[in-house]
Amino acid sequence: AQSVTQLDSQVPVFEEAPVELRCNYSSSVSVYLFWYVQYPNQGLQLLLKYLSGSTLVKGINGFEAEFNKSQTSFHLRKPSVHISDTAEYFCAVTLGTSGSRLTFGEGTQLTVNP
């Protein structure tokens, strides 16, 4: 079975600083990788996804993520964060072979301070 680990439960940063949210996965088969964001009192919203091709994926709001197969990682990055990026971020996978269920990591609370 697949699993997802987000190594940091909370990440505080100052506004305009760079940030990296870490995600590692384990699976015996190929996976598709997703990052979702949840703002307070809202549903989860897709930031970006990796299906195939270029390992660097660009998403909404200036976020990007890099798929590293050898390290089984899919870390999320942003070069300069804003107060409005404060939210919970979830890494998730689906199996490439069958099934569309998302398996989520624990989530990382990003707090951007002025």
Partner: protein
């Protein structure tokens, strides 16, 4: 922009009671999901639904749970006899289902917080 809606936003019930959580998926979507998140834990998959039948379900989705699409717009999750451990945020999601469902973006509703007393 189309969005998934869920009602109610918060449901309080007594242990042993039946609850129905309601969702209106995005109108042209064909694949529907329920997930839940117990406080402090991961978001967990419960069930997926396609073409008026369950496509996949997790170990959590036992006989006390059922799903239904009673009309062309609603998608419901019923919990027949609630337990304390059913207290959680329940998320509905839908996807368009392109050529491969596992690659589709799932669009989530804001959730229903279920509290079982």
């Amino acid at each position: 922009e189309p969005e998934v809606t869920q009602t109610p936003s918060h449901q309080v019930t007594q242990m042993g009671q039946e609850v129905i959580l309601r969702c209106v998926p995005i109108s042209n979507h064909l694949y529907f999901y329920w997930y839940r998140q117990i406080l402090g834990q991961k978001v967990e998959f419960l069930v997926s639904f396609y073409n008026n039948e369950i496509s996949e379900k997790s170990e959590i989705f036992d006989d006390q749970f059922s799903v239904e699409r009673p009309d062309g717009s609603n998608f419901t999750l019923k919990i027949r006899s609630t337990k304390l451990e059913d207290s959680a945020m329940y998320f509905c999601a839908s996807s368009e289902m392109g050529w491969e469902a596992s690659t589709d973006t799932q669009y989530f509703g804001p959730g229903t917080r279920l509290t079982v007393l």
